[in-house]
Symmetry: C2
Subunit: 177 residues, 2 copies
Protein backbone atom coordinates (compact mmCIF):
# COMPACT_ATOMS: atom_id res chain seq x y z
CA UNK A 1 0.00 0.00 0.00
CA UNK A 2 1.33 3.35 -0.93
CA UNK A 3 0.11 6.83 -1.78
CA UNK A 4 -0.87 9.19 -4.54
CA UNK A 5 0.62 12.68 -4.69
CA UNK A 6 -1.61 14.96 -6.76
CA UNK A 7 -0.08 18.22 -7.96
CA UNK A 8 -2.89 20.60 -8.83
CA UNK A 9 -2.45 24.10 -10.24
CA UNK A 10 -2.75 26.29 -13.32
CA UNK A 11 -1.05 25.48 -16.61
CA UNK A 12 2.64 26.49 -16.36
CA UNK A 13 2.47 26.70 -12.57
CA UNK A 14 5.33 24.18 -12.36
CA UNK A 15 3.50 20.87 -11.77
CA UNK A 16 5.36 18.74 -14.30
CA UNK A 17 8.78 20.12 -13.45
CA UNK A 18 8.34 19.41 -9.76
CA UNK A 19 6.71 16.02 -10.44
CA UNK A 20 9.63 14.88 -12.54
CA UNK A 21 12.26 16.04 -10.06
CA UNK A 22 10.43 14.52 -7.10
CA UNK A 23 9.96 11.21 -8.92
CA UNK A 24 13.72 11.08 -9.54
CA UNK A 25 14.26 11.40 -5.79
CA UNK A 26 11.74 8.75 -4.74
CA UNK A 27 12.44 6.16 -7.47
CA UNK A 28 15.73 4.84 -6.02
CA UNK A 29 13.92 3.74 -2.87
CA UNK A 30 10.41 2.96 -4.09
CA UNK A 31 8.63 2.13 -7.34
CA UNK A 32 7.37 5.47 -8.65
CA UNK A 33 5.11 6.34 -11.56
CA UNK A 34 4.20 9.72 -13.02
CA UNK A 35 0.70 9.98 -14.50
CA UNK A 36 1.14 12.95 -16.79
CA UNK A 37 -2.16 14.51 -17.78
CA UNK A 38 -1.39 15.03 -21.47
CA UNK A 39 0.08 11.54 -21.92
CA UNK A 40 -2.73 9.76 -20.08
CA UNK A 41 -5.44 11.60 -21.99
CA UNK A 42 -3.81 10.81 -25.34
CA UNK A 43 -3.05 7.16 -24.60
CA UNK A 44 -6.11 6.15 -22.61
CA UNK A 45 -8.93 8.70 -22.71
CA UNK A 46 -8.80 10.42 -26.11
CA UNK A 47 -12.61 10.68 -26.15
CA UNK A 48 -12.60 13.15 -23.25
CA UNK A 49 -12.53 16.85 -23.96
CA UNK A 50 -12.35 19.92 -21.74
CA UNK A 51 -15.95 20.53 -20.70
CA UNK A 52 -16.61 20.51 -16.98
CA UNK A 53 -18.09 17.01 -17.17
CA UNK A 54 -15.16 15.68 -19.16
CA UNK A 55 -12.62 17.29 -16.86
CA UNK A 56 -14.32 15.75 -13.83
CA UNK A 57 -14.46 12.36 -15.55
CA UNK A 58 -10.79 12.64 -16.56
CA UNK A 59 -9.82 13.26 -12.94
CA UNK A 60 -12.02 10.36 -11.77
CA UNK A 61 -10.36 7.94 -14.20
CA UNK A 62 -6.82 9.11 -13.50
CA UNK A 63 -7.65 8.79 -9.81
CA UNK A 64 -8.71 5.19 -10.43
CA UNK A 65 -5.49 4.40 -12.25
CA UNK A 66 -3.49 6.02 -9.46
CA UNK A 67 -5.31 3.98 -6.82
CA UNK A 68 -4.62 0.79 -8.76
CA UNK A 69 -0.91 1.56 -8.76
CA UNK A 70 -0.84 2.79 -5.16
CA UNK A 71 -2.51 -0.33 -3.79
CA UNK A 72 0.33 -2.30 -5.36
CA UNK A 73 2.96 -0.30 -3.51
CA UNK A 74 3.76 2.30 -6.15
CA UNK A 75 4.23 5.96 -5.27
CA UNK A 76 2.08 7.75 -7.84
CA UNK A 77 2.86 11.34 -8.80
CA UNK A 78 0.03 13.05 -10.69
CA UNK A 79 0.75 16.46 -12.24
CA UNK A 80 -2.80 17.14 -13.50
CA UNK A 81 -4.62 20.48 -13.31
CA UNK A 82 -7.83 18.97 -11.83
CA UNK A 83 -9.57 22.36 -11.61
CA UNK A 84 -12.64 21.27 -9.63
CA UNK A 85 -12.37 20.86 -5.88
CA UNK A 86 -15.14 18.26 -5.67
CA UNK A 87 -13.40 16.03 -8.22
CA UNK A 88 -10.15 16.16 -6.25
CA UNK A 89 -12.03 15.43 -3.03
CA UNK A 90 -13.70 12.41 -4.65
CA UNK A 91 -10.27 10.99 -5.51
CA UNK A 92 -9.12 11.65 -1.95
CA UNK A 93 -12.13 9.78 -0.53
CA UNK A 94 -11.62 6.89 -2.93
CA UNK A 95 -8.04 6.55 -1.73
CA UNK A 96 -8.87 6.89 1.95
CA UNK A 97 -11.73 4.39 1.69
CA UNK A 98 -9.20 1.90 0.30
CA UNK A 99 -6.59 2.61 2.98
CA UNK A 100 -4.37 4.47 0.53
CA UNK A 101 -2.62 7.75 1.18
CA UNK A 102 -3.55 10.88 -0.73
CA UNK A 103 -1.46 14.03 -0.71
CA UNK A 104 -2.82 17.15 -2.35
CA UNK A 105 -0.10 19.56 -3.44
CA UNK A 106 -1.12 23.04 -4.49
CA UNK A 107 1.40 24.27 -7.05
CA UNK A 108 0.53 27.88 -6.66
CA UNK A 109 1.47 30.57 -9.14
CA UNK A 110 -0.48 33.66 -10.07
CA UNK A 111 -1.89 33.93 -13.57
CA UNK A 112 0.57 36.64 -14.67
CA UNK A 113 3.50 34.43 -13.77
CA UNK A 114 1.99 31.42 -15.52
CA UNK A 115 1.24 33.48 -18.63
CA UNK A 116 4.79 34.79 -18.75
CA UNK A 117 6.19 31.22 -18.51
CA UNK A 118 3.62 29.71 -20.92
CA UNK A 119 5.58 26.46 -21.27
CA UNK A 120 3.27 24.93 -23.88
CA UNK A 121 2.18 28.14 -25.56
CA UNK A 122 -1.40 27.61 -24.38
CA UNK A 123 -1.96 31.10 -22.95
CA UNK A 124 -0.71 32.70 -26.18
CA UNK A 125 -3.18 30.58 -28.14
CA UNK A 126 -5.97 31.46 -25.72
CA UNK A 127 -5.19 35.18 -25.97
CA UNK A 128 -5.20 34.84 -29.74
CA UNK A 129 -8.58 33.13 -29.59
CA UNK A 130 -7.25 29.87 -31.06
CA UNK A 131 -8.35 27.81 -28.07
CA UNK A 132 -11.09 28.31 -25.51
CA UNK A 133 -11.65 26.96 -22.04
CA UNK A 134 -8.09 27.36 -20.75
CA UNK A 135 -8.01 26.86 -17.00
CA UNK A 136 -7.17 30.06 -15.15
CA UNK A 137 -7.57 32.27 -18.20
CA UNK A 138 -11.14 31.67 -19.29
CA UNK A 139 -12.12 28.47 -17.49
CA UNK A 140 -12.57 27.94 -13.73
CA UNK A 141 -9.87 26.90 -11.30
CA UNK A 142 -10.86 26.17 -7.71
CA UNK A 143 -7.73 26.28 -5.55
CA UNK A 144 -7.33 23.79 -2.69
CA UNK A 145 -8.59 25.05 0.65
CA UNK A 146 -6.41 22.88 2.84
CA UNK A 147 -3.70 21.14 0.78
CA UNK A 148 -1.13 18.95 2.53
CA UNK A 149 1.63 20.88 0.76
CA UNK A 150 1.46 24.42 -0.62
CA UNK A 151 4.27 25.38 -2.99
CA UNK A 152 4.37 28.99 -4.19
CA UNK A 153 6.52 28.65 -7.27
CA UNK A 154 7.15 32.34 -7.94
CA UNK A 155 8.71 32.54 -4.46
CA UNK A 156 10.56 29.21 -4.22
CA UNK A 157 13.00 27.69 -6.68
CA UNK A 158 12.18 24.36 -8.34
CA UNK A 159 14.95 22.82 -6.23
CA UNK A 160 13.49 24.15 -3.00
CA UNK A 161 9.99 22.95 -3.95
CA UNK A 162 11.38 19.53 -4.86
CA UNK A 163 13.28 19.27 -1.58
CA UNK A 164 10.20 20.14 0.42
CA UNK A 165 7.84 17.78 -1.39
CA UNK A 166 10.31 14.86 -1.48
CA UNK A 167 10.86 15.24 2.25
CA UNK A 168 7.11 15.29 2.89
CA UNK A 169 6.58 12.14 0.82
CA UNK A 170 9.45 10.30 2.49
CA UNK A 171 8.05 11.13 5.91
CA UNK A 172 4.60 9.88 4.89
CA UNK A 173 6.09 6.67 3.52
CA UNK A 174 8.12 6.07 6.67
CA UNK A 175 5.17 6.71 8.95
CA UNK A 176 3.10 4.12 7.09
CA UNK A 177 5.64 1.27 7.09
CA UNK B 1 10.16 -5.15 -13.56
CA UNK B 2 7.62 -7.88 -13.75
CA UNK B 3 5.32 -9.54 -16.27
CA UNK B 4 1.85 -9.56 -17.72
CA UNK B 5 -0.09 -12.81 -17.99
CA UNK B 6 -2.82 -12.49 -20.63
CA UNK B 7 -5.55 -15.11 -20.57
CA UNK B 8 -7.25 -15.15 -23.96
CA UNK B 9 -10.20 -17.33 -24.90
CA UNK B 10 -13.90 -17.40 -25.66
CA UNK B 11 -16.53 -16.08 -23.24
CA UNK B 12 -17.10 -18.73 -20.52
CA UNK B 13 -13.88 -20.56 -21.42
CA UNK B 14 -12.72 -20.13 -17.81
CA UNK B 15 -10.44 -17.08 -18.01
CA UNK B 16 -11.77 -15.20 -14.97
CA UNK B 17 -11.98 -18.28 -12.76
CA UNK B 18 -8.38 -19.23 -13.43
CA UNK B 19 -7.21 -15.60 -13.21
CA UNK B 20 -8.73 -15.18 -9.78
CA UNK B 21 -7.33 -18.44 -8.44
CA UNK B 22 -3.87 -17.79 -9.85
CA UNK B 23 -3.82 -14.25 -8.44
CA UNK B 24 -4.61 -15.67 -4.99
CA UNK B 25 -1.54 -17.89 -5.31
CA UNK B 26 0.87 -15.18 -6.47
CA UNK B 27 -0.33 -12.33 -4.24
CA UNK B 28 1.30 -13.59 -1.00
CA UNK B 29 4.74 -13.35 -2.61
CA UNK B 30 4.33 -10.51 -5.10
CA UNK B 31 2.05 -7.54 -5.73
CA UNK B 32 -0.61 -8.82 -8.13
CA UNK B 33 -3.39 -7.06 -10.00
CA UNK B 34 -6.21 -8.49 -12.10
CA UNK B 35 -7.33 -6.33 -15.02
CA UNK B 36 -10.81 -7.71 -15.61
CA UNK B 37 -12.16 -6.84 -19.04
CA UNK B 38 -15.67 -5.91 -17.97
CA UNK B 39 -14.50 -3.79 -15.02
CA UNK B 40 -11.82 -1.95 -16.97
CA UNK B 41 -14.16 -1.16 -19.85
CA UNK B 42 -16.82 0.18 -17.51
CA UNK B 43 -14.49 2.21 -15.30
CA UNK B 44 -12.01 3.53 -17.85
CA UNK B 45 -13.11 3.03 -21.46
CA UNK B 46 -16.91 3.22 -21.54
CA UNK B 47 -16.76 4.88 -24.99
CA UNK B 48 -15.43 1.70 -26.60
CA UNK B 49 -17.86 -0.78 -28.11
CA UNK B 50 -17.39 -4.16 -29.73
CA UNK B 51 -16.49 -3.38 -33.33
CA UNK B 52 -13.17 -4.75 -34.54
CA UNK B 53 -11.52 -1.34 -34.20
CA UNK B 54 -12.87 -0.83 -30.70
CA UNK B 55 -11.84 -4.31 -29.58
CA UNK B 56 -8.32 -3.73 -30.89
CA UNK B 57 -8.17 -0.34 -29.18
CA UNK B 58 -9.48 -1.84 -25.93
CA UNK B 59 -6.69 -4.43 -25.97
CA UNK B 60 -4.10 -1.75 -26.76
CA UNK B 61 -5.21 0.37 -23.81
CA UNK B 62 -5.43 -2.53 -21.37
CA UNK B 63 -1.99 -3.60 -22.58
CA UNK B 64 -0.72 -0.11 -21.76
CA UNK B 65 -2.19 -0.22 -18.27
CA UNK B 66 -0.69 -3.67 -17.75
CA UNK B 67 2.75 -2.47 -18.85
CA UNK B 68 2.52 0.48 -16.46
CA UNK B 69 1.85 -1.88 -13.56
CA UNK B 70 4.40 -4.49 -14.69
CA UNK B 71 7.22 -1.97 -14.96
CA UNK B 72 6.57 -1.13 -11.32
CA UNK B 73 7.03 -4.74 -10.24
CA UNK B 74 3.40 -5.86 -10.27
CA UNK B 75 2.36 -9.25 -11.67
CA UNK B 76 -0.59 -8.36 -13.92
CA UNK B 77 -3.21 -10.98 -14.72
CA UNK B 78 -5.45 -10.04 -17.65
CA UNK B 79 -8.50 -12.21 -18.33
CA UNK B 80 -9.65 -10.46 -21.50
CA UNK B 81 -10.94 -12.17 -24.67
CA UNK B 82 -8.65 -10.18 -27.03
CA UNK B 83 -9.96 -11.96 -30.12
CA UNK B 84 -7.45 -10.59 -32.66
CA UNK B 85 -4.00 -12.14 -32.87
CA UNK B 86 -2.35 -8.96 -34.14
CA UNK B 87 -3.63 -6.96 -31.16
CA UNK B 88 -2.23 -9.53 -28.73
CA UNK B 89 1.08 -9.55 -30.59
CA UNK B 90 1.25 -5.76 -30.39
CA UNK B 91 0.91 -5.95 -26.60
CA UNK B 92 3.61 -8.62 -26.50
CA UNK B 93 5.99 -6.44 -28.52
CA UNK B 94 5.24 -3.41 -26.35
CA UNK B 95 6.16 -5.42 -23.27
CA UNK B 96 9.29 -6.96 -24.78
CA UNK B 97 10.50 -3.61 -26.09
CA UNK B 98 10.28 -2.32 -22.51
CA UNK B 99 12.06 -5.33 -21.01
CA UNK B 100 8.83 -6.66 -19.49
CA UNK B 101 7.68 -10.25 -19.57
CA UNK B 102 4.57 -11.26 -21.48
CA UNK B 103 2.91 -14.64 -21.09
CA UNK B 104 0.08 -15.58 -23.43
CA UNK B 105 -2.25 -18.16 -21.95
CA UNK B 106 -4.77 -19.82 -24.26
CA UNK B 107 -7.80 -20.75 -22.17
CA UNK B 108 -9.14 -23.22 -24.65
CA UNK B 109 -12.69 -24.54 -24.60
CA UNK B 110 -14.84 -25.50 -27.58
CA UNK B 111 -17.92 -23.39 -28.34
CA UNK B 112 -20.38 -26.09 -27.22
CA UNK B 113 -18.76 -26.27 -23.80
CA UNK B 114 -18.70 -22.48 -23.46
CA UNK B 115 -22.36 -22.23 -24.52
CA UNK B 116 -23.37 -24.86 -21.99
CA UNK B 117 -21.56 -22.97 -19.21
CA UNK B 118 -22.72 -19.49 -20.35
CA UNK B 119 -21.60 -17.86 -17.10
CA UNK B 120 -22.95 -14.40 -17.97
CA UNK B 121 -25.88 -15.51 -20.12
CA UNK B 122 -24.30 -13.94 -23.20
CA UNK B 123 -24.70 -16.93 -25.50
CA UNK B 124 -28.38 -17.23 -24.57
CA UNK B 125 -28.88 -13.57 -25.45
CA UNK B 126 -26.97 -14.00 -28.71
CA UNK B 127 -29.04 -17.04 -29.67
CA UNK B 128 -32.19 -15.05 -28.88
CA UNK B 129 -30.93 -12.21 -31.07
CA UNK B 130 -30.75 -9.74 -28.17
CA UNK B 131 -27.05 -9.05 -28.72
CA UNK B 132 -24.86 -9.30 -31.79
CA UNK B 133 -21.12 -9.65 -32.27
CA UNK B 134 -20.48 -12.23 -29.56
CA UNK B 135 -16.96 -13.62 -29.89
CA UNK B 136 -16.97 -17.25 -30.93
CA UNK B 137 -20.66 -17.30 -31.75
CA UNK B 138 -21.05 -14.64 -34.42
CA UNK B 139 -17.83 -12.62 -34.13
CA UNK B 140 -14.26 -13.72 -34.93
CA UNK B 141 -11.85 -15.36 -32.52
CA UNK B 142 -8.29 -15.99 -33.65
CA UNK B 143 -6.73 -18.57 -31.32
CA UNK B 144 -3.07 -18.21 -30.32
CA UNK B 145 -0.66 -20.09 -32.57
CA UNK B 146 2.13 -20.53 -30.04
CA UNK B 147 0.96 -19.56 -26.54
CA UNK B 148 3.33 -19.96 -23.61
CA UNK B 149 0.63 -21.91 -21.77
CA UNK B 150 -2.28 -23.85 -23.27
CA UNK B 151 -5.04 -24.83 -20.86
CA UNK B 152 -7.84 -27.01 -22.21
CA UNK B 153 -10.52 -26.36 -19.65
CA UNK B 154 -12.95 -29.12 -20.66
CA UNK B 155 -10.14 -31.62 -19.98
CA UNK B 156 -8.47 -30.14 -16.90
CA UNK B 157 -10.08 -29.03 -13.65
CA UNK B 158 -9.84 -25.38 -12.59
CA UNK B 159 -7.50 -26.54 -9.82
CA UNK B 160 -5.20 -28.33 -12.25
CA UNK B 161 -5.16 -25.32 -14.60
CA UNK B 162 -4.41 -23.02 -11.67
CA UNK B 163 -1.58 -25.24 -10.45
CA UNK B 164 -0.01 -25.34 -13.86
CA UNK B 165 -0.24 -21.60 -14.55
CA UNK B 166 0.87 -20.56 -11.07
CA UNK B 167 3.90 -22.83 -11.37
CA UNK B 168 4.74 -21.37 -14.79
CA UNK B 169 4.51 -17.80 -13.47
CA UNK B 170 6.61 -18.57 -10.41
CA UNK B 171 9.31 -20.08 -12.58
CA UNK B 172 9.31 -17.04 -14.84
CA UNK B 173 9.52 -14.71 -11.86
CA UNK B 174 12.40 -16.66 -10.36
CA UNK B 175 14.32 -16.78 -13.61
CA UNK B 176 14.10 -13.00 -13.94
CA UNK B 177 15.29 -12.09 -10.45
Amino acid sequence: MSLTVWLTGLPSSGKSTIASAVADRIRPVRATEILDGDVIRREFFPELGYSKDDRVENVRRIGGMAAMLARNGVVVIVPVIAPYRSAREAVRRQHQDSGLGFVEVFVDADLDTCMSRDVKGLYRRAVDGEISGLTGYNDPYEPPEDPEVHLVTPHSSPEACTDRLAEFINQRLESRV
